[in-house]
Symmetry: C2
């Protein structure tokens, strides 16, 4: 069955590269002449070991990671890491700094507080409805880490530059912009993100941990909740989400070999975002919700100046083949998610649709 032409702007799970989907389909009954499907082979087989190691190697090359870092594929999504991060890295007497830029940051903060950990919210954009990214974050000397959310899917904001924290290690939830642009991993002790936006099928969570940060992990944690377990077993302590890791391997291959790396990916992502912000900025009909210097290149959020037209906008868009434009249920409005696999031509088609809709109802 061929793919019907739709434009997928889902906030995650979201579009994957068509060539990746086609490769999965083509070999689905017989992975590498094994006679078995990728979902039927053992996670301890040479085939799956090949998948996992290739995914890790590609990720290391793309991010220019050196030997100081482990790359892991975990389960439970970023949501499980919200509690595992303070559990693993904050001993009694330790404190950590958190930046609050919206719902996902708040969830990370809540999970640290639930455990009675000592944390400080050192910056927040709540005063202006999370429409911006705080600058010059006043971290505390002596903090174990400084936690932030690199991209806020709901509010459509994104850190352009990561916080300056001198020697305090950064920890970040990068679920919605990891692998969308190059960045320097050296200031990070730990970073993590669900793979279902830029990297593959939902079910696995990418985590990158600096080896010296691993030494903070207490010996007494439940085995599955210790990053030490997963690092020492190369993500194979127990059966992982094999198929999700396989999709990540193929997306990373596409990123490296077809796109050509993170610089090229970032430039495509910038172009897509500029096309959409261009429409918003030219128009009094569509109003972007994020402040200009904090705008996300991944999630473009906006309201219609006639707010009761929003439902019609989303509905007409869907009837024209544009999916996933509804804003998050906690804020309403509209949102266009343009992760790595969303093509420039899909964005161009949406731009046309938006202009037509504005002429019709504006």
């Amino acid at each position: 069955m061929k793919k019907k032409q739709v434009h997928n702007f889902n906030p995650g799970p979201s579009a994957l590269p068509l060539c990746v989907l086609e490769e999965i389909q083509e070999s689905f009954l017989d992975y590498q002449y094994s006679g078995m499907s990728i979902v039927e082979i053992s996670h301890r087989s040479r085939w799956f070991e090949g998948v996992l190691n290739d995914a890790v190697d590609r990720l290391k090359r793309l991010l220019k990671l050196d030997e100081r870092f482990h790359v892991l594929f975990l389960q439970g999504g970023a949501s499980l890491q919200f509690c595992m991060v303070p559990m693993n890295f904050l001993k009694a007497g330790d404190t950590a700094d958190y930046v609050n830029t919206g719902l996902w940051s708040a969830k990370a903060i809540k999970e640290a507080q639930l455990q009675g950990k000592s944390i400080h919210i050192v910056a927040s954009s709540e005063d202006r409805d999370f429409s911006y990214i705080p600058q010059k974050i006043p971290y505390n000397e002596g903090s174990t880490y400084l936690h932030f959310t690199s991209n806020n899917t709901i509010r459509g904001t994104q850190f352009r530059e990561f916080p300056e924290s001198a020697h305090i290690p950064l920890v970040a939830d990068m679920s919605s912009d990891i692998m969308s642009r190059p960045f320097d991993v050296s200031p990070f002790g730990f970073l993590y993100g669900g793979i279902q936006k830029n990297l593959g099928a939902a079910g696995a969570c990418l985590a990158i941990i600096r080896k010296d940060f691993l030494e903070r992990v207490p010996e007494t944690l439940p085995t599955m909740l210790s990053y030490r377990t997963h690092a020492s077993k190369n993500s194979l302590f127990n059966t992982p989400a094999c198929f999700s890791i396989y999709t990540a391997q193929l997306v990373l291959k596409w990123l490296e070999e077809t796109i050509g790396g993170l610089e090229q990916m970032a430039s495509i992502n910038q172009k897509k975002a500029q096309m959409l912000y261009g429409v918003l900025d030219e128009s009094g009909f569509y109003n972007p919700t994020a402040e200009p210097d904090s705008r996300s290149l991944m999630n473009i959020t906006f309201r219609l100046s006639i707010q009761n037209l929003e439902a019609k906008f989303i509905q007409e868009a869907e009837m024209s083949g544009f999916y996933g434009l509804k804003g998050h249920r906690s804020v309403g409005g509209c949102r266009v998610s343009i992760y790595n696999a969303v093509t420039i031509s899909s964005v161009a088609a949406l731009v046309d649709f938006m202009k037509t809709f504005e002429r019709k109802y504006g």
Copy 2:
């Protein structure tokens, strides 16, 4: 690409029904005329809601579950439940009973002990190298639950009848035999199992929880580690392992509509096991490791009387298209895993191969 003819006896991830694999492949680029792949649709879309609810409904029908039970699809496999079970169900002052029938039971026990929970090992088969299932288990009055492993993949043993525990709720890891036979869920407070053996692609863990057992869950747990969270959100608190749940839905549909239910499945599974135990019992060349009244219908474990022929047996089998026959690395020997999707004809082919191998080398 068509499927090469191999016989997949992997211990998990393992064989899935060919018709399920074909359906996934056929619709992989375009799920239900959405124009999107199943891995590209939102977990909050009507499509995925349909997948999840259908999986839950089929499971409830197949197991004849009434309104007292929640059916959940979690992440982290059975391994994460080993720590979540005592964390959720044992308050200070509570105790629980555990039965030790091998490595997986021991892991469950270890995770309770790591948390300092008060548990009693009320029965163990360690005295005879875990080759049997203890009978008449002496549970403690006042225990919160009695935990056991229904099938032991490594040792090839299985509970024929579940422990009698009067009013003490049973809790079981059923990773390797759930949905292989009918059973009465009423005595259970909680049961769980990774889906990668009888139910689908690795990445999701099935959990069934009795609603009154949910009341035991403390309010203060990390959100993702509380069964209350997942039950109250119908497994959609965060992005689940969507593709794995989709495979489970299709396998449950096959079980219900093609096989005809759990009675029929059990009778096929019995037949397959009888064919293999028949060869073992007729022969002095192959020696089954489990005691006859404790034999698993899922994992048939044996040694060759000439043990240095085992590597040759496994190698010649693989060259003849029989995969996954190596015993678990902790015990060695041979193991044939014949989960639901392994066909009678695959077992018949293996029986022929084993007889030929015995004639050649016996």
